[in-house]
Structures are given as C-alpha cells and as structure tokens.
Symmetry: C2
C-alpha cells in the first residue's frame, strides 16, 4: 500500500461506474491508514495480521443509507469517521487495543470516486485520532443501489483477559467515560431543524445547525468515543464493560442481566456527566438515560478501585453502584427505583424507509 496519494481529489465526472473497480481502488487505497499489525498487506486473497498473545478480538457492524444515516446530513468523510469510530469502540469495550479494520463498501455506480476518497480519509482520520497504529488491512468494493459500509474491526488484548459484560458484582462502582445523551440530542436537532418544509433532510439547514450546535452535532455525526479508555479500564481492574450504543438504560440492563445483578444509577451523577460533556441543560432529563449512539464506555470497578474517586482510570466518572438483584431478578434502578423506559433506537421497528 503506497503512502503517497494523489493530493487532488478525483474529477467530479469520475464515477465508480465510469472508472471501474481497479481505477477507483487506485484512488482510494493510498488514502487508507496503514496498520502496525500487518504481517502481509493488501495484494493477495487475504491479509495476515499479528496476534502477539495468540488471540484476537473481532467485531463487525454495518452502516446503511436510510436506517443509519442521511447523506444530506453526513459528508462521506463523516461517514468514514463514524463507521471506524463505532467499530473501534466495540473493540475498546473488550479492554483491547484496536489494531486493524477491513472495510466492505458498496455504493451506487453513479457515486463520484472523490466521495469514496473522502470516505477513506474519514476512516484514516478516525484511526489517527482515536487509535493510532490501527489501519485498514483489506476490503471489498461493490456496486449497490444502497450505500453500505460494513466494517470488521480487530484488537489486541495484550495478554490481558477480555472485559466482558458478565463480571459486575454487588458493591462495584458503575462508571462511564464519554458523553451521555449527546448523540441523541444531535439526532433530535437534525430531525427537527435540518429538514426542509416537506420534512426531507436538507444539507444547507444541517450546515447551519452544525455551526449553531457543534457539540451535539459532532457527537452524532463524527463521534469521538474514548477508545484509549478501554485499555485504561482493563488495566484499572474493570470487572465488566460495554460500549453505549443503544442508550445508558438499555445497555446498563445488559450488564445487569449478564452479571446477574442490579445496577442503581444516580440521576444527579448521570446528569452531571452529561452536562460536563456538553449536553444542553435545557435538553430533557431523560435523554442522558435513554439516548443512543454515544459510544461511551460503561464499566464497573471493584469497590477497592475507588474512592478516592479520582483513582478511576482515564475519563471514567462514577454514576452509580452495582447492587444484588432482588427476587424479581436483575434490574436497572435509578435513585433506588426500577427504571423501565426502553430508550435506544430499533431500526426494525422505527425506520420509516426514508433515506435522503
């Protein structure tokens, strides 16, 4: 993989269909980040990667035009950035260091190659910003009427045990690193205000909204999850961890169920973290509990890890405590009371079929 891309973007008339797969790849590949784990890079039927401790972490996730993004709101650079960030976050949530990605991309034949270059640069910028040394080691480029980005991400546990969802024990601290509700607030703003008179997504309105509300919009469109805090949490003794993709309430319940415990969150501490990361104080209080897509890390730590509270690793802040499940079984509590709101986003139930 050469490291010297042509700095000029491809001409607007150079679409995927017009230039073909090989010419498109010749423009895209030099823009992709390299991986320090590469043993054998692109050019063969498969890549070979290093797994120094004899194991590797694997996760896969798709971004699909329609249910997952609007091209009127996200640039291709944004999409590349978000696709990488969300996958890196799943690796980090195991306590692993992200090492590499493979990217399968399908785009309409009329897509300008310059847009795919921008997507590659988004992948590169996310890796450089969030997980230096992690890069793209392989991929697949196809045509489809629906823009689809499927990423598989890899990580190195560096001789540590993986941090799963099932290790939380009564007495553990519950802590979060990253924003709460901010990405959902960004999405709400987009649906409310980045649309034209007919309700269709509108690029100009989105650009104005970005200037006006840069923090929630960035959380939604180009999330910067605290990737390095995954390793920090593992080194700091985290007993359980996951990536907040479907909202704090729903994801905390996942740890509770997998661990056979209940989790009691403090609404005041949740709100404090949410505001500290830029949530508008005027936003509904529940958004920090139920809003999805923050890709923050939720972890539990044994009681001896804190206090002092500043002994928690990285950006982790305490928002609650693990308690024993009562006779009704594992549950999520807020301020001691069962919290049943679902939150999150279910494209199966909720996607209208619209794209734009």
């Amino acid at each position: 993989m050469t490291r010297d891309p042509d700095p000029r973007p491809a001409a607007p008339a150079d679409t995927l269909g017009a230039v073909g797969e090989l010419a498109a790849l010749a423009r895209i590949i030099p823009r992709l980040p390299g991986s320090d784990a590469t043993v054998l890079g692109p050019g063969d039927d498969a890549a070979v990667l290093a797994a120094p401790d004899g194991r590797y972490v694997v996760t896969t996730d798709m971004l699909i035009h329609g249910p997952d993004f609007r091209t009127a709101w996200s640039t291709m650079h944004d999409l590349g950035f978000k696709a990488a960030a969300t996958n890196l976050s799943d690796v980090a949530a195991m306590g692993a260091r992200p090492t590499a990605l493979v990217v399968a991309l399908a785009a309409p034949a009329e897509t300008p190659v310059a847009k795919l270059e921008a997507l590659a640069e988004g992948l590169r910028d996310a890796c450089e910003a969030l997980a230096p040394g992690c890069g793209v080691v392989g991929g697949d480029l196809s045509v489809s009427s629906v823009l689809t980005i499927a990423i598989t991400a890899f990580g190195d546990l560096e001789d540590r045990e993986p941090v799963t969802r099932s290790g939380a024990r009564p007495g553990d601290w519950v802590a979060v690193s990253g924003s709460l509700g901010l990405a959902a607030e960004g999405l709400r703003l987009l649906f409310e205000r980045a649309v034209d008179a007919t309700g269709a997504p509108d690029a100009d309105a989105a650009a104005r909204l970005r200037a006006e509300h840069p923090v929630p919009l960035a959380a939604q469109l180009t999330p910067h999850p605290p990737i390095a805090d995954g390793v920090a949490a593992a080194l700091g003794g985290a007993s359980a961890m996951l990536d907040l993709s479907d909202g704090l309430a729903l994801d905390a319940r996942r740890i509770a169920r997998a661990s056979g415990v209940s989790i009691d969150l403090s609404s005041a501490q949740v709100r404090e973290v949410a505001l500290a990361h830029g949530l508008d104080p005027a936003a509904p209080a529940s958004v920090a509990l139920t809003g999805g897509e923050d890709h923050s890390l939720l972890a539990t730590f044994p009681p001896d890890v804190a206090p002092p509270l500043d002994a928690l690793p990285g950006g982790f802040r305490i928002i609650g405590r693990v308690v024993a499940a009562d006779r009704h079984g594992p549950a999520l509590l807020v301020d001691g009371r069962v919290f049943d709101e679902r939150g999150g986003w279910d494209p199966f139930a909720e996607w209208s079929g619209q794209a734009g």
Copy 2:
C-alpha cells in the same frame, strides 16, 4: 450459542420488521455453526478468537442482491452457502485452514425470518461440508432495502508461511484444483433459460433448469470449492496460489504480474480439467479460460514437486508451466501465444441495475 434450534421454521407472517431484531436473532443464532477457534463467543461487544501461531488470515467479501445474485434463482440457503464458500476459498488460497466467520446481514424489513433461518443453515452447511470446525463467531443484523451479506473470514496458517501470488518462478508447474468455466456456464444457462418471456428471472424456470443441468447450476449457485486443498498445496510446497474468482485467464495474469513471470497454459490440459469437472463438451472452448466464479485454486509448484504428476497434492492437476517473462513483461500465454482476452465479470461496468 445454543446448539438446539427450534426445528420448525418461523411462521410466514413473522417478518424481520414484525418480530424485531432480538426475536429474529433468537431464531437465527442457534442455526449458525460454532467455531473451534472461539475463546469468547457471542454475547459481548466483540468475540475473542484463538491464533495459536500468533498470526491470523483475514478476508472480506460482500454478496449484494442485483449485481451478485437473483432471489428468483438462488434460495436463501443457496446464498448462505455461496457467501460462506467464496470467503472460505479466499482463506484457503493463502494456504490457511479456515477457522471462523463474522456475518453482517442487511435485509428488507418485510423479509420473513424463516428466510434468514435458511440463510443461516446455508452458512452452517457450507462450513460443515467445506471446512469442518469453522463457524460463525459474530455478526450484525440490519434493515436495508437491498439484501446484503458481508462476510469476513479468518484462517490459521498453522506455523506455515502464507502462500502469496508473488512466489511463482520460471520452471514451476501451474496446476488447478476444482472446476474451470463451470460456474460461468451455469450463469449463462440461467440468463438464457431461467427467465420469463420478458427476460426477467423466473423461479420455476430455474427449478426446471437445475433438474436438467445440476452440475453447472450447482457450480454457480452452491459452489463447493476445494477448501482443504489450500492447506494441501501449502504442505506440498506451492510457490504461489490464488482463488479463481474472475476467471482463469485474468487470475493467472495476476500471479504472473505479482511474480514477474509469464504463465503458459496448455489449452488441451485446461480443457481436460474442465471436462473432468463436468463442463459440457458443447460449451464454448473459451469458457474454461475466461469464465469467473469457479473459486477453484490456482497454484504453482516448484519443478521438483512433479513429475510424477500424481505427486501433486489433493485434487491439483497440471495445466501449464511458468516461464520467464520476455521483454514485454509478464504475460499470460496459451499454447505459447499471448492470450489477451479479459474474461471475468465487472459489476461496475456490466451490472444493468436489474435485480429480480
């Protein structure tokens, strides 16, 4: 991952949109094959896999409704089988043993869950038939208006060096394991005869065609590439190898270019192999050279490996010889003359946009 699926398929009214992601996964996951390489299986943000020799092989590939298949011709079981087989073949082409897959699947909300169960069973049957011990260790289920299957496959080199495309040397034998032109002949038959009066893909006509021409139709719809021969070739000293996805001529040129040599194929030996694997003697002679999607293995072996010709490992049969490139550079020759036909299939240039 439980190994006891409900043997009854889901009810026809149970669509992805109606039952939701979790209920669909509960039906699909038990039908997926397990992997012997699993260190930590589904249930967390990522899986952990074993890499006993400290390295792992990775490849990714998408199947997309329209450019890659017609649902009137392929059952969902066929699609699962083919998606697994084509990815396993890329792993085998490195000389590795396939160990695991992750599967990102996007389907229209109106897709019956029973169809996704059949796809999972196709993945399972391909792993069991072609690469026992290999299974699905993770995935992602999304909605999309276009049925899309993105697979990433993993392999274990078992302390051997990977077999790349660049190791062919003048004097090496060129050999193939598997069919030549058979999958393309199957596709030609489908386009010619599995259509209705308007030219649209027709399921009943495809069923009749399958009964009449089972061998080429199976090669196209449920390919059985010689996966175990990847490891056999590596153990047998193969100097270069790849998976025939775009046709013998185009893929042989890839080895020639990567190795800086020319490859001289014997048209008689190519035809002999093609007929032995079931190509209709009445099929055009060129189809064995230019037809794509056989997913056979093309390898080169040092001169001392053969003769006797039966010393070649597994199902490999000699079809040519590696020769020094002349002053025009690496080339593909047939019977000593430069062969320039392209062959293969380029969805960027050739996909009409039709699905069906």
